[in-house]
């Protein structure tokens, strides 16, 4: 740990300045549930840990107009307890119920989970189907990156070296309902083998709008555009859902690893998608 420094900026401006100065040697530290492991594993060997936990610009869950803004340093527990989300967008907080375990949920943050860019980040599929935007801030200003364009590879995101995530903006959908299904190898503290989020708008049984996102089946969390196309405008029943869900194969490129084979991931992704859609349609009825 001698190779590491700790710095706690006093305000947002100082944070942006120090991130600019340190560039890729400055590591934002919120919950530390990923960062401290990388340090322990020595995949990060030196740098400055920038403590962002108490900056008000990175905190809070509020609704502004039609947008819900979640500060990047908000913890998963904070999201689960948020009255704003419970009232305005329960889908998102419900989606976080199986995130890791209570200890980690108390430390891990939404910004950290997104920035870490794991293919199985559990905040990602729900945010992707909500068309959320990652608000990136730097000395030179702020920009919005659509969640779907935020990831560039396993463990890689599209932030510049001087940028940090300030908040996540979620446009509150006018209609529809969503669900997030996560498949782990056990019930508690599980890392997703694969995960599926869907958001459906439904007019008298006909799907008029659908967004589908998956984790664990590609180098990054993805939108399943082919499957979305297949389901759009369809009236779903037990007879056509399997064939439609099979189109997911065109969207995903799973690998085989310790948590599961590519074949298994493909099969269960399709099954979870079917289950997610049927559950959503039932809720909509």
């Amino acid at each position: 740990m001698d190779n590491f420094k700790y710095f706690k900026p006093q305000n947002f401006k100082e944070l942006l300045n120090v991130k600019y100065d340190l560039s890729s040697a400055g590591f934002p530290l919120a919950g530390g549930s990923n960062l401290l492991i990388y340090i322990k594993e020595k995949s990060i060997r030196s740098g400055t840990l920038i403590d962002i936990t108490s900056l008000k610009e990175l905190r809070g869950i509020k609704k502004t107009g039609d947008t819900i803004e979640i500060g990047a340093a908000e913890t998963i527990s904070g999201i689960l307890e948020s009255k704003v989300l419970e009232n305005e967008l329960p889908f998102f907080s419900v989606s976080m119920r199986d995130f890791a375990n209570p200890l980690i949920r108390n430390k891990a943050t939404i910004g950290g989970n997104m920035a870490d860019a794991s293919p199985v980040a559990d905040t990602a599929p729900p945010l992707l189907v909500l068309d959320a935007k990652v608000v990136a801030a730097s000395k030179s200003g702020i920009r919005e990156i659509p969640a779907n364009e935020f990831f560039s590879g396993p463990g890689k995101n599209n932030l510049s070296k001087d940028e940090i995530i300030q908040k996540i903006n979620i446009p509150v959908p006018e209609r529809g309902s969503g669900i997030f299904l996560k498949l782990g190898q056990r019930k508690g503290t599980s890392i997703s083998v694969t995960s599926v989020a869907v958001w459906i708008v439904n007019d008298s049984n006909k799907i008029t709008g659908i967004r589908i996102s998956l984790g664990g089946v590609a180098p990054v969390p993805i939108r399943a555009v082919n499957a979305e196309k297949a389901f759009s405008g369809k009236i779903i029943d037990e007879n056509n859902i399997t064939a439609l869900a099979e189109t997911l194969k065109e969207d995903i490129k799973p690998i085989s690893d310790l948590r599961g084979s590519a074949e298994y991931r493909t099969a269960v992704s399709i099954n979870l998608l079917k289950r997610a859609i049927l559950t959503c349609l039932k809720t909509e009825e």
């Binding site: 001698d2 190898q185 056990r186 310790l258 269960v268 979870l272 289950r275």
Partner: protein, 759 residues
């Protein structure tokens, strides 16, 4: 006969439960001494290689580093011990071990050098400065490959390091007489102990020159190993055990004590060594993975006629306890059933995988998975209820096992299964994608060590002048409440208030040696030793009291710190103690309990009694299988065990629940995976154990036959509690989906494949 007991069979309060919950216990790693050094182990990163160059000069020169030790610095680096009962049919008759690698690395993680420095950071940095060059040599990672003559050899000229046989009757005739025959091959995983507390200890040299090692261990007798490695008298090494944060057999073989002994002996300073979680993975023994080929036959009316089995265990790169684990497997391989014709051949095979050794169940679990699956499959073929089939074949008191051993205690298997199944209540309904199923499994598991080892346990009990009592027993408290049981036994016999009995345990130079807290022997052996010593103290007291009261000993009883006569007279206990002290006949006793002894095993064919007795029990589960994902949810669970006599009901339930939970892990998710000897599951994010969300409420059902060889008729429960869990779950899954999983753990992917390969 019903006896009124004050403590035995009750829920006696715990000594350390509250402190454990509050985090007040001083575990091994919590202990520090002034001027203490911190140690780290430099370990191999190849599974099979020759060390071409090893240079620790840069590490030695690093500021803060006190010493770096390699094989050449170890006085007695290599040890050889005989493997019992083996003849020339197998190649190796010896188990070879080394403290530090001299030149050939045999598994990934093998210890090569030790560092002690004045801080953890300096020790870690020094480890990184050690330079090593390897020449990789061909290794063997599959025990079936390792058995072939042409495979690379790990030690000597044969990788088979032990084989055992059961020979009873004539299996050919038995199968010829069978109307159904079931043949299957089963595989079980390499399970990790995954105790919460890492291996850890602190060592120092005291003012008498004795090397002291304060360590979390199941075996304080390892002071002898430290002395042997250092070449010093055994009397000059002391091991003081701690309260243990989980062991499960993982702290049975030497953990850190030899490393600590070496570093303190070399530096003359206190040293602490605590393994990291990853090191607990690649540096420590696991449960043996098994391949079990079973062929079982039965008559039309469900009588077992013959069983033939080939059992292969992967011993990893060193022998450790593999031959004994395999012997347990072999004896238990028939299950708790009478089978007239039996032929079993079992082999333990060296590979370049992580070494394997003791783990709760000690070879009993792997075979239980196979013999219970076979019973279910036979029942299915015969279209017979699986319990009906078993009832026709259960061993009984007086039955002879396949190693010609008579069962001397009660066998309450029928009662166990019935109670466990009825505890599950109404069966939950299936839906189209969520199939429910129910299953059970029986088990038998020996308690106490193998009888040819001539196991003994000593204990000292004495009364203080105020009537309180001290018990000294070397037995470590593994968390199972071993000290509490001893306290309850002394309090019961001497009629004392339990709070007035103090138990001093687990210190090789203070407490009489009681042997290991392994093999489900602690209560059986030390309980009997403490009972003997307490009874002797009672004799001293009643003898003296009879003189003082002028009555016969037979008319006296000791209760509430008072000696009563049947005629209504009494005398306070303290008065009797004072009289004893005045006369120099102290109310104290050092007693040794001897387990039943048998002759040493002479050949690979096991044809004599090997164990003192067995615990019989059953576990039952109801599961829900999600056929679209393969996820198994345990809805209901019950475990019924005849433990002979509960000494402390709370602690018996603790073992039954904990055993079920660890057995559920073995059945559903735990697997230490290596790819050509390289470990892939080095932390608890990849090596999965059940969480509280994965374990349902476990209903513990205690049966008491009072027929065991332990104190008050107790049997052992530590290991028996785990044995039947996996086969019960697999049976329930089979009931739900109609397919039997033969390769555990039954991960969601394996279950999913089973569902879909069927269709």
């Amino acid at each position: 006969m019903t006896e009124e007991r004050t403590y035995i069979g009750k829920r006696t309060p715990g000594l350390d439960e509250k402190d454990k919950v509050l985090g007040n216990v001083i575990y091994a790693d919590d202990f520090t001494l002034p001027g203490m050094l911190h140690a780290k182990v430099f370990r191999a990163t190849k599974p099979s290689a020759i060390i071409k160059k090893l240079n620790a000069d840069r590490a030695r020169k690093l500021p803060g580093v006190a010493c770096v030790l390699t094989a050449g610095d170890v006085p007695n680096n290599e040890s050889i011990s005989n493997v019992v009962g083996q003849t020339t049919e197998v190649g190796l008759l010896e188990a070879r071990h080394q403290v530090l690698v001299k030149n050939r690395v045999r598994y990934y993680g093998e210890a090569i050098a030790l560092v002690a420095a004045d801080s953890v950071a300096a020790a870690e940095e020094a480890i990184e400065l050690i330079e090593i060059e390897y020449e990789e040599i061909p290794g063997v990672y599959n025990p079936l490959e390792a058995m072939k003559p042409e495979s690379p050899k790990i030690h000597g000229d044969n990788n088979i390091i032990a084989q055992w046989k059961l020979r009873k009757g004539d299996v050919k005739r038995g199968f010829a007489e069978s109307s159904v025959i079931v043949e299957n091959t089963y595989r079980t995983p390499r399970q990790e102990h995954a105790h919460i507390e890492p291996e850890s200890g602190v060592s120092w040299v005291d003012d008498m020159g004795v090397i002291n090692i304060r360590i979390a261990t199941q075996v304080i007798e390892h002071y002898r190993d430290v002395a042997a490695v250092l070449g010093i008298p055994q009397s000059m090494v002391r091991i003081k055990g701690t309260i243990i944060g989980g062991g499960f057999g993982g702290k049975e073989d030497v953990t850190a004590e030899v490393f600590l002994g070496l570093l303190t002996w070399k530096t003359r300073k206190p040293v602490k060594l605590t393994f990291s979680r990853e090191e607990m993975g690649y540096g420590r023994q696991k449960r043996h993975p098994y391949i079990l080929k079973y062929k079982t036959g039965a008559s039309k009316d469900g009588k077992l006629t013959a069983m033939e089995a080939e059992i292969i265990s992967d011993s990893g790169a060193y022998v450790y306890l593999s031959p004994w684990v395999l012997l347990y497997s072999t004896v238990h391989s028939t299950g708790p059933y009478f089978i007239p014709n039996v032929k079993v051949d079992s082999f333990s095979v060296l590979t370049n995988n992580i070494m394997t050794s003791a783990f709760r169940g000690f070879g009993g679990m792997q075979v239980a998975f196979a013999y219970e699956a076979q019973m279910d499959e036979i029942a299915k073929k015969l279209k017979m209820d699986p319990l009906e089939l078993r009832k026709k074949n259960f061993l009984k008191k007086g039955s002879e096992t396949a190693n010609y051993q008579k069962i001397t205690s009660e066998v309450l298997l029928k009662e166990s299964v019935e109670k466990a199944l009825s505890a599950l209540g109404e069966k939950s309904k299936s839906t189209e994608t969520k199939k429910t199923g129910r299953g059970f499994a029986c088990s038998w598991q020996s308690y106490g060590r193998m009888t040819y080892l001539h196991d003994t346990s000593s204990a000292w009990v004495g009364l203080e002048l105020d009537g309180s009592a001290v018990v000294r027993s070397g037995i470590p408290d593994l968390g199972g409440g071993q000290r509490e049981s001893l306290r309850a036994i002394t309090a019961e016999i001497l009629g004392l208030n339990i709070e007035e009995v103090h138990v001093i345990s687990t210190d090789s130079q203070v407490t009489p040696l009681a042997g290991t807290v392994t093999a489900t022997r602690a209560l059986f052996m030390s309980g009997n030793a403490v009972k003997l010593a307490s009874e002797h103290v009672l004799d001293i007291i009643t003898k003296k009291a009879s003189e003082m009261l002028n009555t016969s000993v037979k008319e006296l009883s000791l209760k509430n710190k008072t000696v009563y006569t049947t005629g209504g007279g009494s005398i306070p206990l303290v008065k009797v103690i004072k009289q004893c002290a005045a006369e120099g006949t102290m109310p104290q006793s050092l007693a040794t309990y001897k387990a039943p002894f048998t002759d040493p095993v002479k050949t690979e064919v096991i044809k004599d009694p090997v164990f003192a007795d067995f615990t019989f029990g059953a576990q039952a589960a109801e599961v829900e299988v999600d056929t679209e994902t393969g996820i198994v949810t345990i809805l209901k669970y019950a475990s019924a065990q005849d433990i002979g006599r509960a000494i402390n009901v709370n602690r018996v339930e603790g073992q039954i629940e904990g055993g079920a939970a660890q057995g559920i892990g073995f059945g559903l998710m735990e697997d230490y995976i290596e790819e050509k000897g390289i470990p892939l599951t080095l932390n608890l994010a990849t090596y999965l154990i059940p969480t509280s969300k994965d374990i349902p409420d476990i209903q513990s059902i205690i049966l008491e036959s009072k027929s065991g060889k332990g104190p008050f008729g107790a049997k052992g429960i530590g290991e028996p509690a785990i044995t039947a869990a996996a086969p019960a779950l697999i049976s329930a899954i089979c009931d739900a989906i109609g397919v039997r999983i033969k390769h555990i753990p039954a991960t969601p992917e394996r279950v999913y494949r089973a569902v879909h390969d069927k269709n």
